[in-house]
């Protein structure tokens, strides 16, 4: 079936280390699960990314990034073919501080796709998805119907 072929291709693409986004590589982010419309990503704890030097609690920006990325990957997985997407709107409730030292997991579900927009919800958690750190809803805009093509070698600022 075409859809499962696409998921296999997407998994293979994501598994290649060179295909990580630079910011994802910087944070040590990885995709650990991918299904139609669903993605789970993980980011390890790093004290240098804390938002509070005294407590070592991760900065909200790290949680935002792993949630945004999970929403993006879940959207592509729901589209069934390689398309360009961009975040339009991202809303996050910070339910409790992330525990210093623990990996953060983000699970996203793209539950509706229209001609232009992917609607996504996601949560971030440590070990227990029933006790989340953050709750997120996002809208991603479909920016192109063309495949993205081979990844450029380097990005010069």
């Amino acid at each position: 079936m075409a859809a499962s072929n696409f998921l296999e291709e997407l998994r293979a693409f994501i598994a290649k280390p060179g295909n990580q986004t630079p910011h994802g590589r910087f944070l040590g982010m990885e995709v650990v699960y991918l299904e139609h419309g669903r993605a789970v990503l993980r980011v390890p704890y790093d004290a240098t990314l804390a938002g509070n030097a005294a407590t070592g609690v991760l900065h909200g920006g790290v949680i935002t990034t792993v949630l945004d990325s999970a929403c993006g990957v879940a959207s592509i997985a729901a589209l069934g073919k390689r398309m360009g997407i961009a975040t339009l709107d991202l809303r996050i409730d910070y339910l409790k501080p992330a525990t210093p030292g623990e990996t953060v997991t983000a699970a996203a579900h793209c539950y509706k796709v229209t001609r232009n927009i992917c609607f996504v919800r996601a949560i971030a958690y440590h070990a227990d998805s029933a006790d989340p750190i953050a709750n997120c809803t996002a809208n991603m805009m479909i920016t192109s119907s063309e495949p993205a093509g081979p990844r450029p070698e380097a990005v010069s600022p």
């Binding site: 986004t21 005294a54 900065h59 790290v62 945004d68 991202l90 993205a148």
Partner: protein, 143 residues
Amino acid sequence: MNLVEVIRAARENGDPAAFARAIPYMSALDIRVEAAGGTVVLLLPAREMHVGNPWLPALHGGCIGGFLETAAIVQLILDQDGDTLPKPINITVDYLRSGRVVDTRAEARVTRLGRRVANVHAACWQDDRERPIATLQGHFLMT
């Protein structure tokens, strides 16, 4: 470290280094405080490590969100009467334009500073301040 003392140094002297000492994420992303008199302007220098889409290329939406959240927190540190490090309760980020890999600046305005909760609006732009690439609306806990 004594966080209260660091926050006080940041608030009273507008010391850019004090903000980064309190918030390690700022140093990691190379976020700098440009002007700390009244309304702060933060700089996110163009760096390959901030890129989320290598094809365009464009800055990562999460990086832009984290930058705006930092701008909100830095402004709150300056505007508050106490010495607390504000904690985000919720944020809404609107992405208005693709973030090119060039220097990006942000500023925040505290809409309401309550005893427990503050409401903040932040915006970031690249070449033209009147054409923001993203805005943030958020609530922060001040206790």
